[in-house]
């Protein structure tokens, strides 16, 4: 390139990068300087979840196994694919099963989307266990992170409940019987279950007890499907998201993922 053409190119670039549109959109350059490295994180709404600097052990695969981050990734996958599935699914006894069949055989990429949703959910259960195992093994629950561990256990429980409520939605034999087995337990809860210790003694009836609170009926039926659908798509995800915000924020406030302050 001639010197003149080069000069012209520089001028055009300058014109663009110093325009009001450009500077209002991109707040900093890309030069590899410590300042820009910090801005790359702190000036980016998605990345500012991270601190601008992290502890050295926090970036080792061998240390973290990336388990927490991958759990979150899988959660995001289930959210995105779940919203797509909601376009095709009606949580009623008449339609639920056939909507899934329709998804599997007639909707473009329907089967793939449902597969992604299901396997990501199972993957999330496994990753959240691995994450807990890693956090335990590195003693990362020790002060000052006691409370964040508690939040983590709640999130683990919610992950299982999310997966469990979703299990019913295909409305096939696998679904209703797994949920029947699962919710049968509630019938045996002490005090609040009709078959549990001291349940009948304090007036719990087969119609009104801990299990019917979950299933909305004496047996797992269409009312249960609606209840689990709302729990699965709205109630638990909202609670879990709120706790996730708290969980991630606390990592920052407690001085990183592990180690004494």
């Amino acid at each position: 390139m001639s010197e003149k053409a080069d000069q012209q190119k520089q001028n055009i670039l300058k014109l663009i990068t110093e325009s009001q549109v450009w500077t209002s959109t991109f707040r900093h350059g890309y030069a590899d300087t410590p300042r820009n490295r910090a801005l790359q994180i702190s000036a980016n709404v998605w990345l500012h979840l991270h601190p601008t600097k992290v502890r050295r052990h926090g970036i080792r695969y061998r240390y973290t196994w990336c388990a927490g981050g991958l759990t979150f990734l899988l959660y995001l996958v289930t959210v995105v694919t779940g919203v797509v599935l909601m376009f095709y699914y009606r949580p009623t006894g008449e339609y639920a099963y056939h909507d899934i069949k329709y998804l599997d055989f007639d909707v473009p990429f329907g089967m793939f989307t449902r597969n992604m949703h299901r396997w990501a959910a199972h993957g999330m259960v496994i990753m959240v266990w691995l994450h807990m195992f890693r956090v335990f093994m590195t003693g990362s629950y020790k002060p000052p992170r006691e409370f964040n561990w508690v939040v983590g256990v709640l999130l683990l429980t919610l992950t299982l409940l999310l997966s469990f409520t979703g299990y019913l939605l295909p409305w096939d034999q696998l679904a209703i019987w797994a949920v029947t087995v699962g919710t049968n337990m509630a019938r045996a809860a002490p005090l609040v279950g009709t078959e549990g210790p001291f349940g009948p003694e304090i007036g719990v009836t087969p119609r009104y007890n801990m299990r019917t609170l979950l299933t909305a009926a004496v047996n797992v039926g269409p009312p249960t499907l609606m209840r689990f659908y709302v729990l699965h798509c709205i109630f638990i995800p909202v609670i879990a998201s709120m706790l996730m915000i708290l969980h991630f924020w606390r990592i920052r406030k407690d001085g990183g993922i592990s180690g004494p302050l």
């Binding site: 410590p34 490295r37 910090a38 790359q40 990345l47 601008t52 600097k53 992290v54 050295r56 052990h57 970036i59 695969y61 240390y63 990336c66 981050g69 990734l73 899988l74 006894g93 099963y97 599997d104 089967m111 597969n115 992604m116 396997w119 993957g123 266990w129 093994m137 590195t138 003693g139 990362s140 020790k142 002060p143 006691e146 561990w149 256990v153 709640l154 997966s163 295909p170 409305w171 096939d172 034999q173 696998l174 019987w177 797994a178 029947t180 087995v181 699962g182 049968n184 337990m185 509630a186 019938r187 045996a188 809860a189 002490p190 279950g193 549990g196 047996n219 039926g221 592990s258 004494p260």
Partner: protein, 275 residues
């Protein structure tokens, strides 16, 4: 310990930005020497790691989802109970507990204690060592307990539930035919009966004494080691929580062994609950 100091060739950056993977924190107190700081920039080192891990996981998930379809069986039919009816795989540890305990324990009390027990870990483990690095030696009791509870009792039970349980919740090896008419001798008997008790009240007393005896390890152990420094540090309240959770956890292997060896069904029978 190597005494090498890694210098960056970057004109501005501190040494922290070089050789991240290989760098270990080197501390030489009082010399004023340049050492690798404990903190490094998230961009690009941390974000890069996350991106690669996420990409691999995402690709794996895509391939898996292309290759294996999510299960879909016949339409829900409340009048046709499949045998066996299995809970989702991640709850099969709980369903497996039903073999040994009544639903109020296996399905309600134990799961609650598992969740609560996990939550209180940071408050009962007062050992300050092992914070932020892998170690077995410095916290062997905590690790062994967690290992037993999580791997042996939780994960192994899930494997048994998923792969080794067939019709009637009977035990089948993976290569065995799931014969729903398999004859299994129902010769389980209650613990007091095994000991020869036949009357209602004698059985009740023996059962209560057995369960009480099992948990009496808690005060006995406290009496024995009350004055040890570690025990003093732990304190009475924390000790009660630790030992209570620990012994409740041990109730599971205790009953498993009794079932396998002596076909014991219940330890203690009362009009309200059985253990």
């Amino acid at each position: 310990m190597s005494s090498e100091v890694v210098h960056s060739d970057h004109p501005i950056d501190r040494p922290a930005d070089l050789k991240v993977g290989a760098g270990k924190l080197r501390i030489r107190a009082g010399t004023g020497e340049e050492v690798l700081p404990d903190k490094i920039h998230s961009w690009p080192y941390f974000v890069r790691v996350e991106f690669i891990a996420g990409l691999i996981m995402f690709l794996f998930l895509c391939v898996w989802s292309l290759a294996i379809d999510a299960p879909m069986e016949e339409p829900a039919n409340p009048s046709m109970t499949p045998n066996p009816s299995k809970a989702p795989w991640y709850f099969l540890g709980l369903q497996e507990m039903l073999v040994y305990f009544d639903p109020w324990l296996a399905g309600v009390v134990f799961p609650t204690l598992i969740i609560v027990g996990l939550m209180v870990i940071p408050y009962i483990d007062i050992n300050p060592r092992g914070n932020g690095y892998y170690t077995f030696k410095e916290r062997w009791f905590a690790i062994l307990t967690f290992f037993f509870g999580f791997h042996v009792l939780w994960v192994v039970q899930i494997f048994i539930g998923v792969f080794l349980r067939g019709p009637g919740w009977n035990f089948f090896m993976p290569w065995e035919f799931w014969d729903s008419h398999k004859i299994v001798a129902l010769n389980n008997i209650d613990w007091p009966y095994l000991l020869g008790a036949r009357g209602y009240w004698t059985s009740f007393m023996i059962g209560g004494a057995t369960v009480g005896g099992f948990f009496s390890v808690i005060p006995l152990f406290w009496k024995m080691f009350e004055n040890k420094p570690a025990m003093r540090q732990l304190g009475f309240v924390r000790y009660l929580v630790v030992s209570g959770l620990f012994m409740t956890m041990m109730l599971m292997p205790f009953k498993m062994v009794l079932r396998w060896t002596l076909n014991v069904k219940y330890l203690w029978i009362t009009p309200w609950f059985n253990i």
